[in-house]
Assembly symmetry: C2
DNA sequence: TTGTACGCGTTATCAC
DNA sequence: GTGATAACGCGTACAA
């Protein structure tokens, strides 16, 4: 790796001049510029991002962090792609970390990113009171929340209208004549989950249906809990005729729980999931879902972050994207 | 962000002493150590990874790069998880990049990683002559190849026995009585693809079946090409009775191409895919596949990289993992 | 045992 | 226009 020193020596100028050539500062006469540029090429010089970052205040590291629960969850993979593509378009690199919904891991990675002097961070907070994230924001480091919001702190945020999505999903089931609709929800500390639950309750209430405790089960967003809870619900003496499942993995789990029971979907039990699934068309049956524009969530979050890096004091913005009910064969 | 200076001032010692405390150098008397540790805590000091990296030779950045074609491909997502988990276990952070099988993107990211002074890089080379990667290796930066190998350069490598996997897959079809077996392969510049193709040909040859050009189609590993090529094959006057599809996305594409034709799988056309699919059990039908131990590939690659960072001159190792034929309902 | 001072590769502020 | 030079935060050889 050639350094400024070596280039300067070769071009018989000072490192300052080389630096000026690199940074397009116009205060350099064309002749020396040419000499320097040749030396640059000959040595295959690449500036050290590390040295540059050490020297400069911030906002020019061209490096941002992304912390997500699990890259193997297609919803987050799609967000990650959105973030990454937007970052690449602006020549930013990305440090990606999986937190597994584990606050300790999240905290570890937040510290790494601070220590790396990233220009900013995109993440869905672990909970709406996420202490580590709140503390981080106090330091002034640009943070954009995606998917989930924080309770007491106002940040840039790109979210999806979860309430509206849940409302549409449950209304769709009600329109099909279902009245005993089971709910499989996730962790209640997560804002999105509470919104979806609220949508479920309000949709029922609007039709004068009282919610039933025994039809509402809380899991942990993972596939296995979807399977277990679906089985619990279907084991009831009076089982639900339809299920509203609050995320993608639990939806797959629920379907996996239903199959061995030889129940027909949707005739015996209908299913609506939150989050679309890759290759939904190849699933059995292709599930009706509330599709979130995850790629857009990621892309716009990165755009917001880039703007905040340029203008750190700009007031926080909330972008709310609309989900879309995709009706397939499970309802 | 507190610096060594500030901590030193607070503890009324020199920065050298603080640094010694941090780096567990034992040449510091317990009393001052305590004072320093308190100052450290009070200020919430975190060392700057950037400054540390600039100062030190290499191997201590605790940062590695991972370049994969596409994080939304579950095969690579699984590799990424394996790499990330192993990295986290050793307190390494990860820069993750998607190359989209695009050499320019790959080159850009390789340069970023060099400029970031990463300790090493894990990647599947774009092709077996991947110029940018070969050049990179010449610089001495530790590189571990996963999945795909390089033709002329010996590196640490974690691969899967693609030939064996393809052999088993096609033998399975032959055992079921199929003779007209279509092949949907990917880019031929990729070593894994050639191995799979060779397995297909050898399996046929072992039963005295001559390969037929019209039954062999080459795509680009993406879903759409699987759909298109499956349709091409099924449109033949004498269509194949079975398909061997060389990666996961093309398998989904092939299934999607078959469904609208109202053909029954496996009665009308059987399908074996390379790579397992998430939620395979929920697919219609659950496909028979050659499962690659992708998580292990990633995990072991990271282990190899860690070893090479410690001992840069150790001779390159090749780890070859065995794939597994998972028989489900599509054959 | 502790402190001083240098250098890692940049950028930016001065003089010249 | 160009060239020294001072930071940025850290680790360490060397001096005390």
């Amino acid at each position: 790796m050639a350094t400024l020193q070596e280039v300067a020596a070769r071009a018989r100028v000072s490192i300052a001049t080389v630096s000026r050539v690199l940074n397009k500062s116009d205060k350099v006469v064309p002749e020396t510029r040419l000499t320097v540029e040749q030396a640059l090429r000959e040595l295959g010089y690449r500036p050290s991002r590390v040295a540059r970052r050490l020297r400069m205040n911030s906002g020019r590291a061209h490096l941002v962090g992304l912390i997500i629960p699990d890259i193997q969850n297609p919803f987050y993979a799609e967000i990650a792609r959105g973030v990454e593509d937007a970052a690449y378009a602006s020549e930013y690199a990305l440090i990606l970390c999986n937190s597994d919904e584990n606050p300790d891991k999240e905290r570890f990675y937040l510290e790494v990113m601070q220590a790396e002097s990233v220009d900013g961070i995109v993440l869905p907070p672990f909970s709406d009171t996420d202490f580590a994230v709140v503390e981080l924001i106090k330091t002034g480091l640009p943070v954009v929340c995606v998917d989930r919001s924080l309770a007491k702190v106002k940040t840039d945020l790109v979210e999806v209208d979860n309430y509206q999505g849940a409302l549409e999903a449950v209304n769709h089931l009600l329109d099909k004549g279902h009245e005993r609709i089971g709910l499989i929800e996730g962790r209640s500390q997560v804002s999105t989950n509470r919104e979806r639950r609220r949508g479920y309750l309000d949709a029922l209430a609007a039709r004068g249906i009282a919610p039933r405790k025994e039809l509402m089960r809380a899991g942990d967003f993972k596939q296995e809990s979807g399977r277990v809870l679906a089985n619990e619900l279907l084991d009831l003496r009076k089982p639900p005729t339809a299920l509203f499942v609050c995320n993608n993995l639990m939806t797959v789990g629920a379907l996996a729980g239903i199959h061995p029971r030889r129940l027909r979907v949707p005739e015996d039990v209908a299913v609506v999931g939150f989050d679309d699934l890759p290759w939904a068309e190849a699933l059995d049956p292709p599930p009706t879902v509330v599709r979130q524009p995850a790629y857009e969530v990621g892309r716009q979050a990165m755009e917001l972050l880039l703007k905040r890096i340029v203008e750190p004091t700009r007031p926080p913005v909330t972008v709310r994207l609309r989900p879309e009910l995709v009706v397939r064969k499970s309802t």
